[in-house]
Amino acid sequence: MSTMSQTVRYTAVGLGLGLAALAGSGCASSETQVQKAAKDWCMTIRGSQVIPVYPLTEDIQPGDIFLVQVPIDQQQKLYNQSGFLALDNHLARLNPAGYADFYAHNFFAKNSTTDLPLDWIRPGGTNQSWQLAPHAAFPSYSFSVQNGAGLNLAVPVEGVPVGLSLLASAAASGTVQIQDAHTVGVDTLSLFNQVQQWSTTNADFLKNFGTSETAKNHNYLRIVTRLYLTGRMTVTLTDASSRSAGADAGVPKPVNLLVPQLPNSSNSPATTLQNYTNAFSTLSSIVAAATDAKDAAGNILPGGSLRLAAASSRSVSLDETFNPPLVVGYLGFDCAILPDGSLGAPIPTHANLDPNYKLNQLAVFSSNLVNNIDTFGLIQKNYAAATSAQKLAIRQKALALGLIPSLTPDETFIKVLRRSVDANDPVMTQKFKTLSEFNPAP
C-alpha cells in the first residue's frame, strides 16, 4: 500500500515536472512558441477548407461583421505567416433573417418557430448545446514530437501536454480527432442583402474607410456566413522512443503503472485486471488533478474538461470536452468599402486569401459573362416585343430590382440597363435573371 502511495506521489511529481518542462521549453521565446502553436493548429484546420478561428471561442456568429484594413496581398502573406487572420475589429453583429428559409425544408420542424442560433446554442430545458444543429466531420490529424525539437503540430488543447507528461517520452507520435462537430450557416445572398441595408444606414461611418476602385489598397468588410464547432477533441499519443523497458532514469513514467505484472501463484488474471483498473483510476485522478484549474475563489476556470479515455505502457488517449462547443473555423465573404460608404461585390474570403484564385476568378468571370450576355439578350428581346404598358412594367421591375438608377424613358432603357451587367457580381447576375423571367401582364 505504501509502495502504491509512493508511486502515485512520484507520478504526480513527474506530471508536474513534465508540464513544467513543456512550459519551460517555451521560456526562451514564448511569443515564438505561441505563434507556432497558432500557425500549426490553423494549418490543420485550413486543410479542411475552413478558415481557422484562433483562439477557439464561443462568441462568433453568422452575421458578424469585421473591418479588415490590410491589403489583400498583405493578408495573403499574413495568412501564410500566422496561419490565421485576426478578427479583432468587430464592427457589428447582424441577426441573419435567412435562417428560416435556409433550414425550413431539412432541419426545422413544420411550423417551427426556431430562433437561430439561440435555440441551437441553448436548447430550452436541456444541456445539449448544438446537438440539434447539422453535424460535421473532420479528418484526424497526425503529428509527432521529438525531444528538444518541439511539436510539429501544436494544438490549443490540454490533451497533448498532459499526455506527453504521462508518457514522459523523448519521442512520441499521435493523432488529434475533432469530434462532436457541428455547423450552422446561412446563404450569402440573403445575408449580403442585409449587409447592404446595414451599410446604407451606416454609410457615414463606412465613408471613413472607403477607397476608390482604382486605389491600390482597399478596406474590406468581412462577413461570417458559416461556423464549424467542436464539442470534443481526442488526443492519442504513442511513445515512439526506442529505449528498452527499465532504462528510464530519474522520475518513473506515470504510464509505467500500467505495465502488467506476470501472473504467479498469487497473481491470477483477475488480479491483473484489478491492478490495471486501479492503475487506470490512479492515472485518471492525476489527469483530473492536472486540469482542475481554479481561481482564487475556488471556481473552476473556463476551458475544456479532460478525461483519460485509454492508456497502456506506451500509449495514452485523452478526451477533451468543450461544453458548450467552441468555434474552430468559419466561412465568409468580403466586400470592398467604396468612397461613398457603399459596398463592392461579395467575394468569398478564402478566394481573397488564395493568390492562385485569380486564375479561377477569370474562368468564373468568363463563364458568368457569357451567361449575363445571354440573359441580357433575352431581356432585350422580350422588351422589344412588349407593348407600351408591358415595357413600363419591365422598366418598373428593373427599377425595383436596382438595375437602373431611375425610371428611364423607353428609348434609353436598354442602354442604361446594359451598364449594370457585371459578371463579377453574383447579386446583379441573379437580379438580371429575375428580370429575364419577369412576365408583365398583357
Binding site: T214, Q361, L362, A363, S366, L369, K415, R419, V421, A423
Partner: protein
Amino acid sequence: MTQYTKTVPKDPAGLDATLKAVLQVIIFQTQDGDLLADFQIKPDKVLLIFDEE
C-alpha cells in the same frame, strides 16, 4: 457625361484569356454606340472606364 467602370480579373498564367474577356466586355458595353472605352492595367485586374459623351 456619364462615366462608369467595369473590372476584368487578370489571368496570371497569360494574356490570351484576359484579353478575350476584356474585348467581350468592351464590345458588349459599346453596342449602343457613343461610348469611349479606356483602360488601366492593375496588378490583379484590368479596369475598364467607359465614358458616354
